[in-house]
């Protein structure tokens, strides 16, 4: 049975600034309170005795360990009134950006598609309302069961995945998550995937009017059933798709570039001409690992998409090139793990960044990036984060 040490009520001033650590303490204290049994009946001596216990001789706990255990057990989590904090470390800093044309966000940090589910899952752990926006899991017209196992494999500073766009389909996504999105307090960008132009248009039409949705991001890393051509690898195909989706919706449409295209800059340019309001750079990079014991690829589908810090230099490079070719805003994605990484993308010309794989290792990364960017703006006396966008690009000759 969960337990709680009896404790005196501590009066504490209401704090105005909360760091991630404090939010976590709150979460811990809150969860503890929810389903704990008050042991107030027990006198303190009994509880302390039970809490410290006798070390089992065969386990040989060191003195240091015992001391640690003792302090950790003795120190009750601070009793905290839990008014929702109104200010955060990033409060009062101008972090607002246009992540796409017509898509102003409170800060430039989003969570990447497929690494943050429908946004509600991580809401149990972190305050998602502090994010600039979230991008949901790739949504297709119909339910997809996804790919055979294995679907994930670790690589040096990265992972390969082959999930296979497992999702319940557009109608179900809108029905199940619309109301929850509205309550999350964070804008939602719907990531759209399909195997024909009609598929994408259908998803966008089904999602129309869903609460919380502010834009669409087209995952063009899928093959067109007509000719097997990847939408995002061919400028004219990508442009055709962009035009069709733009005609269906008034919300901003963002094209998510695939680094596996022969000429990604040409694709970006074609999408801008076709009316895209922004591009995301980049989706995963094709890769493979072999299980040497079984003499076959680890992933059930053979190849998969590489993500994480391993691809960051590729993503920064593509961002840098695309930024010189288009006028619409760019969202950088690929291995962002810190504010420093995010700054690389911003300086290379991105207006915002998406955090993906790093969240699996440390769910606090998206919030740490926000806090770190705010600190950067403060330390450098900038008026807003927008001042650094594109500062590493070659200077245009007048």
């Amino acid at each position: 049975m969960p337990w709680r040490r009896p404790r005196k009520k501590v009066e504490r001033p209401i704090e105005v600034t909360r760091s991630i650590e404090e939010s976590l303490e709150d979460a811990a204290a809150g969860e503890e309170e929810e389903d704990s049994v008050d042991l107030a009946g027990l006198d303190d001596a009994t509880v302390v005795e039970a809490a410290t216990g006798e070390p089992e001789p065969e386990r040989g706990a060191s003195d240091l360990a015992l001391k640690l255990r003792e302090t950790l057990a003795r120190e009750p989590a601070p009793a905290r009134a839990r008014p929702r904090a109104t200010t955060y470390p990033e409060s009062g800093v101008d972090l607002a950006v246009d992540a796409a044309r017509g898509l102003r966000l409170r800060n430039p940090v989003l969570t990447a598609s497929g690494t943050f589910g429908q946004g509600i899952e991580y809401a149990e752990l972190i305050d998602v309302a502090r994010l600039g926006a979230i991008v949901n899991k790739g949504t297709t017209p119909n339910m997809r069961p996804g790919n055979p196992q294995y679907r994930i494999a670790e690589t040096p500073s990265g992972i390969l995945n082959s999930i296979g766009l497992e999702n319940p389909g557009a109608v179900e996504v809108a029905r199940r998550y619309g109301v929850q999105w509205a309550a999350l307090g964070v804008p939602v960008i719907v990531n759209v995937a399909g195997y024909s132009v009609e598929d994408y248009v259908y998803v966008v039409s089904e999602m129309a009017g869903t609460p919380g949705v502010v834009a669409y991001e087209l995952n063009v890393s899928c093959p067109n059933v007509k000719d097997g051509m990847i939408f995002g690898s061919d400028p004219s195909l990508a442009a055709e798709l962009t035009r069709a989706v733009k005609a269906e919706t008034d919300l901003p449409v963002i094209v998510k570039l695939t680094p596996n295209a022969p000429d990604v800059v040409a694709v970006a340019r074609a999408c801008e001409e076709a009316g895209a309001d922004g591009v995301t750079a980049i989706n995963t990079v094709l890769g493979m690992r072999i299980d040497t014991r079984r003499r076959r690829p680890i992933l059930g589908t053979g190849s998969g998409g590489l993500s994480g810090p391993a691809i960051r230099p590729i993503a920064v490079h593509i961002t840098y090139q695309v930024a010189q070719a288009v006028g619409i805003p760019i969202m950088g994605a690929g291995g962002v793990t810190s504010a420093e990484d995010a700054l690389e993308f911003l300086m290379a010309g991105a207006s915002a960044v998406q955090v993906g794989t790093a969240t699996f290792a440390d769910p606090l990364v998206p919030l740490k990036v926000i806090e770190g960017l705010a600190a950067y703006v403060r330390e450098h006396g900038l008026r807003s984060i927008r001042e650094i966008v594109g500062t590493a690009l070659p200077r245009m000759v007048e």
């Binding site: 503890e32 752990l125 196992q149 500073s157």
Partner: protein, 275 residues
């Protein structure tokens, strides 16, 4: 479910099974249940990148402490298993579903293979004073068995070794038929082929006439493993096929009703490719 920096309080090698780490993590210990797991960060950088899932091997709520048994398979497991008292471990948990013991169960059979002992030990400690508990554990040799002095004395401990170095020679399936006739609830954790074999034997046992005085087998639950990404239910890397379709081991699992999980030749069944 929380993120907590747990402090390692003790470390002990258990034969060739793995390393048992005691970790002070009061927030997690307060919520943890048998069968659930923690997702442990194997370092402080992004290399190796993914957290590693480990089941609770012991839950000591009063002490605010948990124990994990870690088999060092690769770099992540090695890093975690080599932590020393005083070191911090970044823990995310508790995660997933737990074993549910039926109130009226009188004869509880626990079956463990390898580090599948982890949740079975929690159940043994939790249930020993409430009902008859038998733990059946199998290993390659005696070095792969859980030490009996780390079990409540009232738990009956039956062991099998493949090399015959201790207990019954062979695999757990050698000792299972008789125990299945005795038990009215079964919980198991171990490699996929072991779980698949238990599934087949349980079906056979159900068909056989019940021993006198024994209720029908009430409930059979297993905890399964699958490679994971997030362990938060978002990436869908960890799915297994069940009677209800794809289920995430990190959310709908790791504990499932025995008959629900689809096995294909002793391996987890995989979903078909739809495109």
């Amino acid at each position: 479910m929380i993120i907590q920096q747990g402090a390692v309080t003790a470390s002990a090698r258990i034969g060739d099974l793995g390393t048992v780490l005691g970790v002070s993590a009061p927030g997690i210990a307060a919520q943890a249940r048998a069968g659930q797991f923690v997702h442990v960060r194997p370092g402080t950088s992004f290399e190796p990148l993914l957290r590693r899932p480990y089941s609770f091997n012991r839950i000591r709520r009063q002490e605010g402490e948990i124990e994990l048994i870690v088999r060092p398979l690769g770099p992540g497991g090695e890093w975690i298993a080599s932590r020393r008292p005083g070191d911090l471990l970044d823990l995310l948990g508790p995660l997933g579903t737990a074993f549910v013991i039926h109130r009226s169960a009188r004869n509880l059979l626990l079956v463990a293979g390898g580090t599948g002992i982890a949740p079975m030990r929690v159940l043994a400690e939790q249930e020993a004073s409430r009902r008859n508990v038998t733990l059946l554990m199998g290993g390659r040799s005696v070095a792969y068995l859980w030490p009996s002095d780390r079990l409540p004395p009232s738990v009956e401990y039956v062991t099998t070794t493949e090399d015959g170095s201790f207990g019954i020679g062979g695999r757990v399936t050698e000792a299972l038929p008789e125990l299945l006739r005795w038990a009215d609830q079964l919980c198991a954790c171990g490699p996929w082929p072991m779980l698949a074999a238990i599934g087949r034997m349980r079906e056979e046992a159900e068909r056989a006439p019940a021993a006198p005085g024994r209720a029908a087998l009430l409930e059979a639950q297993i905890a399964v493993e699958q490679h994971m990404g997030c362990a938060m239910g978002v990436c869908r890397a960890c799915v297994v096929v069940t009677s209800q379709g794809n289920a995430r081991v990190c959310r709908e699992g790791p504990v499932f009703p025995l008959g629900d999980v689809a096995f294909a030749e002793g391996e987890p069944a995989t979903v078909g490719l739809v495109s």
